[in-house]
């Protein structure tokens, strides 16, 4: 019953998403769609660990950057396709998450968050320093091969749209599967109260390590996609603190620890930012994040469950107002 009703929503939704770039021809609009899908995907990856297990990382840029750099180095120095580079970047991020997690999980709550910020910043500084193998602070442009689907390069933006749509679908499927598995329940238990979860036999360090690896892998895939999409890489964009911020922000605004929360949050925030940009132009620096932070504060103070919480509350109120059938 529930499944069929969900399918009823899902099928037309997917059809609309697939048809969208065929109908909308403006490359400005498609660019916004791509940004929405990309940040939804990053948010979904963050939400696995930050949302379900409440391990609030503000250092996911570390994995975004590692993914971007791994695939770019493999492509430029060894001629390996970014499709393979994306997987390689994901594996590199997974491996990096082991020592980083080993360090950061020694702390809890806010100090975990700080430690994750520090590790991402440290990685950025390392890539700024080592110019021999990663082009230092100037970064590099990725050679444009024209239409080369095997090298993840396409003419026109529509193909990029489908790639990132596919990534988001993978991310959502993984979340959906985890939500329904023993791991999902363990994660929520850890998020509610880590000590209590351990007391009833949840192996918290192992679960946190595993979910961190999955989250890192997905974030790295986003990094590869992004550097291929903008044909450019440097430490400041690949390890940008703003990536870490947005990953967390979209999930919290949309609804932390929910399947669709990051997607809904991204739609709201990216649309707001696109509207602000078209009204004010690029002239006023800082306005986008000012508005984001106000939205974030409002959500935290009045609706900590996010927009999904707002929607379910409104639905319940509507449902209870309806006269009960006898």
């Amino acid at each position: 019953m529930r499944v069929t009703r969900n399918l009823l929503w899902l099928v037309p939704g997917i059809a609309i998403l697939i048809a969208l770039p065929l109908v909308v021809k403006s490359s400005f609009a498609v660019d916004i769609f791509i940004r929405i899908l990309l940040f939804s995907f990053i948010g979904v990856a963050w939400n696995l660990m930050g949302g379900y297990a409440k391990q609030l990382s503000l250092g996911h840029a570390a994995y975004f950057g590692l993914g971007a750099y791994t695939s770019t180095i493999l492509q430029i120095d060894f001629g390996i396709s970014p499709w393979i580079g994306m997987l390689a970047g994901g594996v590199a991020a997974m491996l990096a998450s082991l020592p980083i997690g080993w360090l950061c999980f020694r702390l809890r709550g806010p100090y975990f968050t700080i430690a994750t910020i520090a590790t991402a910043q440290a990685l950025m500084l390392i890539f700024l320093k080592f110019r021999d193998f990663a082009w230092g602070a100037e970064g590099t442009t990725i050679p444009n091969l024209g239409s080369a689907p095997l090298m993840m390069q396409f003419e026109g933006k529509a193909a990029y749209y489908y790639v990132v749509l596919g990534l988001l679908a993978v991310g959502l499927t993984i979340t959906w599967l985890i939500e329904r598995s023993w791991m999902g329940y363990y994660l929520v238990a850890i998020g509610e109260d880590e000590d209590a979860a351990e007391a009833i036999g949840v192996n918290a360090p192992r679960i946190k390590r595993d979910i961190y690896m999955i989250s890192a892998f997905l974030t790295a895939c986003a990094g590869t996609f992004y550097s291929q999409y903008i044909y450019f890489i440097d430490p400041a964009t690949a390890f940008s603190f703003n990536i870490s911020i947005e990953a967390a922000l979209v999930s919290i605004v949309g609804g932390i620890g929910t399947l669709w929360g990051p997607v809904i949050g991204t739609v709201l925030l990216e649309t707001t930012s696109a509207l602000l940009q078209s009204w004010l132009g690029g002239s006023v620096g800082g306005i986008q994040l000012t508005v984001y932070s106000l939205i974030l504060m409002a959500i935290i103070l009045w609706r900590p469950t996010g927009l999904i919480g707002v929607a379910t509350d409104a639905y319940r109120r509507l449902a209870s107002r309806r006269p009960a059938r006898a």
Binding site: P110, Y111, A122, I252, T290, I300
Partner: protein, 289 residues
């Protein structure tokens, strides 16, 4: 060689004094209110801009403008505790982390909108003055900043140990529930803690102004420094934060001197990661939670 080393240590200690003002604020808020203030560095930034505008509009010396920046930020701290932080105090970490984080984003980007990303400097008569000590140089502006910072830290220590309110704050930091049972009004104590912490950040801003540029992002490095110092010094430990800040100033300065101009932060991060790996409860021991 020895002179270079001594010079680096002096430079590090002097800037470490400023870091101490910021970290003492963070550790005080953590100890008493049990939250981590991600916006602490942004209040340093506000202190710097207050001093900058007082100096450029009215010609007031940045060190003197301390008497404006400290009370203004004290009031800001009381208001922030009363209207914002009070509403998210509870067993759940998430809203607390993201409230102060949102505050930091907001202040930083408001500053970017209002004051632009330009670097603002104040030139005082003593900005370039140097005081010789044998073969070593001691910049006068930094020395004044260090002395005032240590004076303020000492004043705070005296306040915490001699006055009733200070004792109430220490009691709340040691065991909040028992302190409440003894009749300590939590919101009043929390408001004062926030006020003092922000006033110290404002003082740090004013003291920096004669030798440091103000720009919207300037606070971030101070927040990071303070976090590392607070972890190193043991969470909630005022004395530990002070000592750790001075150590970090020296470590940063040695990094700049012997590794390279842009490696100061790498040394600091390395210190944080090594601490987490080997002494996650801080150098002096204690409880990390």
């Amino acid at each position: 060689m020895w002179e270079t080393l001594a010079q680096a240590v002096i430079n590090g200690l002097l800037i470490g004094g400023i870091y101490a003002l910021v970290s003492i604020g963070v550790t005080l808020i953590f100890g008493v209110v049990k939250i981590v203030n991600f916006a602490q560095g942004e209040f340093v930034m506000i202190g710097m801009y207050i001093s900058f505008f007082l100096s450029s509009q009215f010609g007031i010396d940045p060190i003197v403008s301390l008497v404006v920046s400290m009370p203004v930020l004290f009031v800001a701290g009381v208001l922030i505790q009363h209207f914002l932080i009070r509403r998210v105090l509870g067993p759940n970490d998430m809203p607390q982390i993201f409230l102060t984080f949102a505050l930091s984003l907001l202040l930083l980007n408001l500053a970017l909108m209002l004051f632009t990303a330009n670097y603002r400097t104040v030139h005082t008569s003593y900005s370039d003055e140097v005081f010789h000590l044998g073969g070593l140089y001691v910049p006068v502006a930094k020395l004044i900043a260090f002395v005032v910072a240590m004076g303020l830290s000492g004043a705070l220590w005296t306040f915490l140990h001699t006055t009733d309110l200070g004792k109430a704050m220490r009691a709340a930091s040691q065991n909040r529930d028992v302190a409440m049972l003894m009749g300590i009004n939590p919101n009043r104590v929390f408001c004062v803690a926030l006020g003092i912490a922000l006033a110290l950040a404002g003082a740090a801003g004013s003291l920096l102004m004669p030798f440091y540029s103000a720009y919207p992002l300037v606070g971030q490095v101070f927040t990071l420094m303070a976090f590392v110092a607070v972890v190193l010094g043991g969470l909630g430990n005022v004395m530990g934060a002070l000592v750790a800040s001075l150590m970090m100033g020296v470590a940063e300065s040695l990094g700049i001197q012997f590794v390279g101009a842009d490696s100061g932060l790498i040394v600091v991060f390395a210190m944080l990661l090594l601490t987490l790996a080997f002494r996650p409860t801080g150098l002096g021991g204690g409880k990390a939670r």
